[in-house]
């Protein structure tokens, strides 16, 4: 036991500066910078191949950076036991020894996780009705995901990553995961980074959202302000076109005489103005917003790079 532990003393848990990761000629992560604050739930969102898993692998010391600086609890995570013992990384493709059964996984978990809760693990095993004595190789895809979810939650690590942990879990089991995550997080606050494609399911649990597209960050914003950052305007084509003429349009689609346009957030007086012009205002969900910002086929974006 050393006197200096990696326990965070500041409110920043992760600090990434000008990070680039290349695999041969492929630039997977392209000069990104961001930080993650202590005890918040983050959503790390983006399309397949955007670079989410690469970022998490770099943050958890499972891969090495090409360029730039990664600090987790103030230190480099690569081959750094002090940092890594405070991290739980649950990924879709977790490998276990061949003869392992779930009971072996949960029995060995306390060796790796200082804050491991056997009580919580036991409750979750019941929740997911996980067979403890079946070999991991024989588990269904959903049961295998349940093992990961249980380890991720019961480890109560100060920094927990869930990388699409839900494969094979049905809607009811996913809801159980979300409910238990929220309940245990409320009792034992910690930093959670959740990577998922099921954005609608987790949107209200997130406090901050980071969206990656082609190795770059396109959104890094707190969830509440993000919800207000865009509005759909629907109405007669000419009226909508007049209204959006002097605004940034994220997306638009029309049917006959009707037009629906997604624009950047409106002030209250602009909303009143739109309503007076006979236009309907509809909210944009987080999922829609992410699709709009990462949909390569759209040519409506303001800035191109």
């Amino acid at each position: 036991m050393t006197s200096t532990t990696a326990t965070p003393t500041t409110t920043t848990v992760i600090e990434v500066q000008s990070l680039t990761k290349r695999f041969g000629s492929l630039t997977a992560i392209d000069d990104i910078s961001f930080s993650v604050e202590k005890n918040k739930i983050y959503g790390l969102l983006g399309r397949n191949g955007a670079g989410k898993t690469t970022i998490m692998s770099l943050l958890t010391g499972q891969d090495f950076v090409t360029q730039g600086d990664v600090r987790v609890f103030g230190e480099s995570p690569a081959e750094n036991a002090r940092v890594l013992q405070n991290i739980s990384f649950i990924k879709e493709s977790q490998k276990y020894p061949d003869d392992f059964k779930p009971k072996h996984v949960f029995a060995s978990a306390p060796w790796f996780f200082e804050h491991w809760s056997a009580d919580l693990a036991g409750q979750l095993i019941d929740d997911f009705q996980l067979p403890m004595n079946r070999r991991i190789k024989k588990l269904s895809r959903g049961q295998l995901s349940a093992v990961g979810v249980i380890v991720g939650l019961a480890s109560r690590a100060p920094l927990t990553f869930f990388d699409e942990p839900y494969l094979g879990l049905d809607a009811a089991a996913r809801q159980t995961f979300y409910d238990r995550l929220l309940a245990d997080y409320a009792e034992h606050p910690r930093t959670v980074v959740l990577s998922t494609h099921l954005i609608n399911e987790v949107a209200n649990m997130l406090e901050h959202v980071i969206v990656i597209d082609k190795g770059r960050i396109v959104i890094d914003q707190d969830a509440e302000s993000l919800r207000e950052s865009a509005t759909n305007i629907v109405g007669p084509r000419t009226a909508v076109e007049t209204f959006i003429a002097r605004r940034e349009v994220l997306h638009s689609e029309g049917v006959g005489g009707f037009l629906s346009a997604t624009v950047a957030g409106l002030r209250p007086d602009e909303r009143t103005e739109a309503a007076a012009a006979g236009l309907e205002l509809a909210p944009v969900s987080l999922q829609q917003l992410v699709v709009r910002r990462t949909d390569g086929s759209s040519t409506e974006f303001g800035a191109t790079s």
Binding site: K40, I41, Y178, D179, L182, A183, Y185, A186, E187, N204, M205, L206, E207, A223, E224, R227, E228, L281, A282, P283, V284, S285
Partner: protein, 120 residues
Amino acid sequence: MIEEGKPIFVQIAEQIENDIIDGHLAEETQVPSTNEFALFHRINPATAGKGVNLLVDDGILYKRRGIGMFVASGAREQLIAKRTTAFQQEYLRPLLNEARKLGIGIDQLTNMIHEEAVTA
């Protein structure tokens, strides 16, 4: 229960307000904790806390140290006054706009309101 289009913390505050107005939460009684609101609505606890704090700022709720949040005396009256003002803007104006669009005059509208009030 949580809808899009309105900040979630505002919706939490409004739901607590509704509970106070209809008497589910009496004055000087304790309201559920931030975590309880968060779990019930399946939202981030920080968001629930923001909604509760909105009502603390307005003097609708107050904190008893070490115990929790309570409904302030006079909160119901204060909320009804606030909502009555908002009623005009949020309900009457859209109603009149739609009536105008359909060519429904004030007299006809008054009659419709009376009819509806009888059956409701």
